[in-house]
């Protein structure tokens, strides 16, 4: 069973994502801040990470950096789910190695679920990193 790590501090967004992903038959683990996320990845490498940016303690950028600089983690697909919608933020995340970026309020949850399925069912792979 594929394991999905949801990194998100908003409880109702966690619930919505968790319910939908579980309904699709995925195993879900949750981290509520950046530090916890890196810790959880260290304990059990997920198949995909859904990553918020603005969070307590450490931000999503920190987590993204940690994933992409670790040779063992760098091929984990990372989908950023954030309500930061500025071009500069999106560009920064993509340059740091995020595979996709969704401004949450602009997309139905089903689009996110479909994207997750694309990665996990092999239709899409994480971007290669040097």
């Amino acid at each position: 069973m594929n394991n999905i790590l949801i990194v998100e501090d908003e409880e109702f967004l966690i619930r919505a994502l968790e319910d939908n992903l579980v309904a699709e038959g995925y195993a879900v683990s949750i981290a509520r801040d950046g530090e916890e996320a890196v810790e959880k990845i260290g304990k059990k490498k997920p198949d995909i990470v859904l990553l918020d940016i603005l969070m307590p303690k450490k931000s999503g950028f920190y987590v993204l950096g940690e994933i992409k600089k670790n040779p063992e983690w760098k091929l984990i697909p990372v989908i950023v789910l954030s309500n930061l919608g500025e071009d500069t933020t999106i560009k920064k995340a993509l340059e740091m190695g995020a595979d996709d970026y969704f401004v949450k309020s602009q997309h139905p949850i089903q689009e996110v679920i479909e994207k997750v399925k694309d990665y996990l069912e092999g239709r899409q792979a994480a971007k290669p990193r040097p």
């Binding site: 967004l13 919505a16 939908n20 603005l54 309500n83 930061l84 949450k104 309020s105 949850i109």
Partner: protein, 548 residues
């Protein structure tokens, strides 16, 4: 005059006679008039010259008559007084009198007279000299003198005039000099007191002027700067810290093609640290020739900080507003999917309503943030040359789902137009066009068409977005671009609109220097035009990009 000498003794008489004859001959031949009068002015005797002077033919005509008779009227009194005076004093000298003859001819004479006794009777022996010539000469001399005096006077007047003129010129020059000095002083004071840096270069790119503020900002003194090539003093970096070549600079452009440039950039101080500036660089033109360039720049560190704070605030505000809305959205979607159990029809309907309200809020937040972003000037303009066909295809890719949902037919008349290019910020232009196309779709009915087209004019490219939708009532057209304004028929057809779409479109258009206009008729449809000026190819054009 014969009887005058007749009573002398014989011998002596002869000698005397001889002498008398000689005198007589002398007197008769002399050019001087000679007359003897009594104290009553009456002629007793006279020589021929005197007779001539009086204008008579012979002595008999005048003997016994008063000399006053042939004295000119205006001299009669003077002459009579002179005779009386002579009789009293015994002589008169150099008396000038005008005689007048019967024909009115005036003869000026000079009279010297002496009283002699003749048998106890005083007689006045008078010498009269014709002084016509002398008078003429005197008159001529007088006239000459007068004319000379006039000439001198005239010349003096001319000289005076010239002097005045010269003084005026001098005064004008002085005034001009003072004005120039004043202007210069004012200019210097302005340059010294303005908070902007100001640097002027000559046509060879050498610095000719640097004001105090520029010296302070750059760390170079006037002595270090004047006469040096501008790239030595105005060193420029891009955001990433790479030095920018002078040839890419605005001063270079101003000096070579007379372009005026308004941009922001980073300057390096003498010590190598950098600071952000907003600059205007203009050519200095004298009778159409480039003689130099002026660079006015302002340290915008504070503005940048404020801009960043505002940007951070807007970013955070948008995040905070979107987060609960996105949570609501996703939770409703999760319920709608049935993951949490089946809903009855009423619950489903209400939930759909809540979802729509939430979507409306999401759109409103998004639009308002766009407005705030545009108003704050945070959005930067990044110009590039793009083919219009590509722009329209990208636009249609974005708009396709909305038109499909609504059943509106999108027609891209620019799809195959490969020749039309445009230099603008494609992102902003696309966003503006998106607003118009989205509006056209929203206010059209299923089956109606929305057409995107463009026309090239010599100075501009005009986009048009045509629909056959509900149109805008005549009386409401003026308010169309006002924030939150919605036309009455639009509110009925689509109650969920935010009233910000066209306002945003207008702001976006203004950002890239485009003009908006439209034609519309209620129930027939609307055409919106977006006119984008082409960049002036002439030197004096103004452009706004990232050149130095």
């Amino acid at each position: 005059m014969t009887q005058f000498f007749k009573t002398k003794p014989k011998k002596a008489e002869n000698a005397l006679q001889e002498s008398v004859v000689i005198y007589r001959a002398l007197i008769e031949t002399t050019g001087t008039g000679y007359v003897i009068i009594d104290t009553e002015s009456k002629v007793i005797d006279a020589n021929a010259e005197y007779v001539r002077l009086t204008g008579h033919a012979n002595l008999n005509e005048i003997r016994g008559r008063s000399v006053i008779e042939w004295t000119a009227d205006y001299e009669k009194k003077k002459n009579a007084e002179a005779v009386a005076k002579c009789a009293k004093d015994g002589y008169i000298r150099n008396l000038e009198i005008d005689y007048i003859d019967k024909r009115g001819k005036i003869t000026p004479v000079e009279i010297n007279a002496t009283v002699v006794e003749k048998s106890g009777t005083p007689q006045i022996l008078t010498l009269c000299r014709d002084i016509t010539e002398r008078k003429n000469l005197e008159r001529k001399l007088d006239e000459y003198t007068k004319s000379l005096e006039q000439k001198v006077f005239d010349r003096m007047k001319d000289l005076e005039k010239e002097k005045i003129a010269a003084r005026n010129v001098y005064e004008d020059l002085q005034t001009e000099k003072e004005i120039i000095a004043q202007t210069q002083a004012i200019d210097e004071a302005i340059l010294a007191s303005i908070a902007d840096g100001c640097i002027a270069v000559n046509k060879n790119g050498k610095i000719t002027l640097i004001n105090q503020m520029a010296q302070k900002m750059l760390g170079f003194s006037s002595q270090e700067s004047i006469g040096r090539e501008w790239p030595e003093i105005l060193r420029r970096e891009d955001e990433k810290g790479n030095l920018i070549a002078p040839e890419k600079g605005a001063i270079h452009a101003a000096l070579s093609i007379a372009t005026t440039t308004i941009t922001s950039s980073y300057y390096l101080r003498k010590d190598g640290t950098k600071f952000p500036v907003s600059r205007t660089v203009s050519p200095i033109l004298l009778q159409g020739k480039i003689i130099g360039a002026v660079n006015i720049f302002r340290d915008i560190t504070k503005e940048k900080e404020i801009e960043k704070m505002r940007m951070d605030f807007l970013s955070l505000a948008s995040h905070q507003l979107r987060t609960p809305l996105s949570g609501t959205k996703w939770l409703i979607e999760t319920i709608q999917k049935g993951i949490t159990g089946k809903l009855n029809p009423k619950q489903k309907e209400y939930l759909d309503n809540i979802y729509q309200v939430n979507e409306r809020m999401i759109k409103l937040v998004s639009d308002m943030l766009n407005v705030l972003m545009l108003e704050s000037g945070i959005a930067e303009i990044k110009k590039q040359e793009i083919p219009i066909s590509k722009l329209s295809e990208e636009l249609f890719l974005i708009m396709e789902p909305a038109s499909r949902n609504k059943g509106v037919i999108l027609h891209n008349a620019l799809k195959n137009n490969k020749s039309l290019f445009l230099e603008t910020d494609p992102q902003i232009l696309r966003s503006a066009l998106e607003c118009f196309v989205s509006n056209a779709i929203n206010y059209s009915q299923s089956g109606q068409e929305v057409v995107l087209d463009a026309e090239e004019k010599p100075d501009a490219i005009i986009f048009s977005i045509k629909d056959s939708g509900i149109g805008i009532p005549k009386g409401e057209q003026k308010k169309l671009f006002e924030r939150f304004y919605r036309a009455s028929n639009a509110k009925i057809l689509r109650p969920t609109g935010t009233g910000l779409g066209l306002n945003i479109a207008k702001m976006l258009a203004e950002k890239i220097g485009a003009e908006i206009s439209f034609e519309s008729e209620e129930n027939k449809g609307s055409i919106f035009y977006l006119r984008i000026p082409k960049r002036s190819s002439k030197g004096a054009g103004t452009k706004s990009n990232n050149k130095n």
